[in-house]
Symmetry: C2
Subunit: 260 residues, 2 copies
DNA sequence: TAGTGGTCTAGACCACTTC
DNA sequence: AAGTGGTCTAGACCACTAA
C-alpha cells in the first residue's frame, strides 16, 4: 500500500489530458487549451504544464505547433507488411520504363505514395560486404530511397548491389522514377539473377536525431530497422538492403513451418 | 542556410554528453557529473541540465538513480529470434515432468533464464476468438508468463488455448515449472494436435505505464508486440499468444521464398 | 499586434542514497 | 549529514503564428 502517493501537478495534468484524449473528449485534430490557461486551471506555473505536454508528445499523443497551439494527433493507418509485397506478379510484368517527365508525383510512379531516389557508387562496409559475400571496400551501388505516404515520409530503404550485377542497367540511373517500386527485382531478373529467397532481420529502437528529422518523427516514436538479404535460387546474394521504418505506420507478418 | 542557429544550452549539453558516451569517453556504468556540477560547468541553472538528461534518458542512453547519480546504461546482449527456436528437437523429446519442488530457479527449468507462470480460465476477447476460430466470450485457458534473463524481465508471453484442447493436461496446472519453456507444444502433440505452422505478427511502439513497470523498462525503451498463431498441418488453430518484448534485447529473423 | 509554445534564471524544497 | 536527482514558483524573454 502506498497511501500517501504525492500528487505531482505535472503528472496529474498529463494523466487528465491523456484520459480526455483516450475517451474521445478531445478528438484528433482538436486544439488543447493554451499553456497559460491550463496553468491557471491547475493553479501552477507554465513549467509543470510544459512538462506534462512534453510527456504526451513523447507518447505521440499530441503535436505542438509553435506559435499556434497544441493539437491532438491524427492516427495514421497501419500498413501490414507480409511476404506478399514481394510477390512476382507485382514486378514481373512491370516493364521498367524510363519516366523522364520528372514529375515526382506522377501517379504511375507513386502508387499510393511517392519516393525519392539517390544512386551512387560507393564502397561496401562490413555488414554490406558480409551480406553480399564480397570484401570490405569492394565497389557497390547504393540506391537510397525515402518512401512517402500522404506527403509525410514513412520509411527509408537503401539497397546495395555488387557493381558488376547492375552496371549499365536502369537501376543505376539516378533520374527519379526510374526503376522505382520493386523495379530492382525486375532488373536483377533481366540480368540473369532472378530473386528467389529473402531473409529479413528486424529490430526496434529509438531513432537517432538524424532519422527523427528525416522521417519527421514525433518525439517518442520508435523506429524499426529492417535488414533484407535477397538471394537467387542457388543461394547467391544479389541485394542487401537496410531500411528505417516509422514504427507506428507498419506491422510485419510472417508465416513459416516449424522446423525439425 | 541557417547561419544563426541559436545555441540552446540544454541542447548543447545533451549533444556533448551524447558524443562523450558514443566515443566511449563515458563508458557503460560510468557515473556522470552531478547535475549541479554540469550546471556550473555550462554556466546555467539546474533546469537546462535536467532537460538534457531527460532527453538522454528518453534515448535510453543513461539511467538516473535518484539520490545516487546518473549512469551510462549497460548494453544488453541481443538475442536473435529465428524460426529455429520452435524447432521440434527442442521440445519433442522433452517429456513434460512435474517439477513440484517449487524451486523457481531450478536449473532444468530456467535454462539461461527463468519464467513465472500464471494459468487461469477466462473468456476469449475479440482478437483471441478470431485467432482461435471460436466465438467471443467462449472459455479459453490463459497461460501468462514473464520471462527473465540475468534477473531482469525481458518479455512476457501469454498463450490462449481452447478449453477443450488442453483440459486436464499439465499445461493448465498452475504450479510453476510445469510445462515450462515450449512444453506447450509437447502437450498439444500429446493431445493429438501437433503444431505445424506458425504465423507471427510484429509491431513496435512505446510501452504503456504498466508494461514499463512490469518489464522494468528504462525511459525511452520501446517494446515489440508479437502475436503468434500456431496451427496444425491441416490449418486448425491450436494456440494464440501475444507477447511484449523489451526491444533492446531482441532481434527477429525470418527467411521465406518470394511468392508468385 | 496579440496570443502562442518554449527556454531560461534564481532560488526553494523534497525524496532518496551514501557515508 | 552531505550529496544526489527531481519538481516547482515567479517572472523574463524569445520565436513563431494568425489575424
Amino acid at each position: 500500500m502506498k497511501p500517501n502517493e504525492p500528487v505531482l501537478p505535472s503528472r496529474q495534468i498529463a494523466d487528465d489530458l491523456r484520459e480526455e484524449i483516450a475517451s474521445g473528449q478531445l478528438p484528433p485534430g482538436f486544439k488543447l487549451p493554451a499553456v497559460r490557461v491550463l496553468a491557471a486551471r491547475y493553479g501552477v506555473t507554465q513549467g509543470p504544464v510544459l512538462k506534462a505536454l512534453a510527456a504526451l508528445k513523447a507518447e505521440g499523443l499530441v503535436n505542438a505547433i509553435h506559435g499556434s497551439g497544441v493539437y491532438v494527433r491524427e492516427a495514421h493507418p497501419v500498413r501490414r507488411l507480409g511476404p506478399d509485397r514481394y510477390a512476382r506478379h507485382h514486378w514481373q510484368a512491370t516493364t521498367v520504363e524510363a519516366r523522364v517527365d520528372g514529375r515526382a508525383d506522377s501517379p504511375a510512379v507513386i502508387q499510393q505514395g511517392g519516393q525519392s531516389q539517390d544512386v551512387r557508387l560507393t564502397e561496401a562496409d562490413e555488414r554490406t560486404a558480409a551480406a553480399l559475400g564480397i570484401e570490405v571496400g569492394a565497389p557497390v551501388y547504393e540506391r537510397a530511397r525515402v518512401m512517402t505516404r500522404d506527403d509525410t515520409p514513412t520509411h527509408t530503404m537503401t539497397s546495395y548491389y555488387r557493381q558488376a550485377d547492375v552496371e549499365g542497367t536502369p537501376l543505376v540511373d539516378a533520374r527519379p522514377g526510374i526503376a522505382g517500386r520493386s523495379g530492382g527485382f525486375q532488373v536483377l531478373t533481366d540480368q540473369g539473377l532472378p530473386p528467389h529467397q529473402i531473409t529479413e532481420d528486424l529490430a526496434a529502437r529509438m531513432p537517432t536525431a538524424d532519422e527523427a528529422l528525416l522521417l519527421e518523427l514525433p518525439a517518442g516514436e520508435p523506429v524499426v530497422e529492417l535488414h533484407r538479404v535477397t538471394r537467387t535460387a542457388d543461394g547467391r546474394p544479389i541485394e542487401y538492403a537496410r531500411g528505417i521504418h516509422a514504427a507506428s505506420r507498419f506491422a510485419w507478418s510472417y508465416t513459416f513451418e516449424i522446423p525439425d
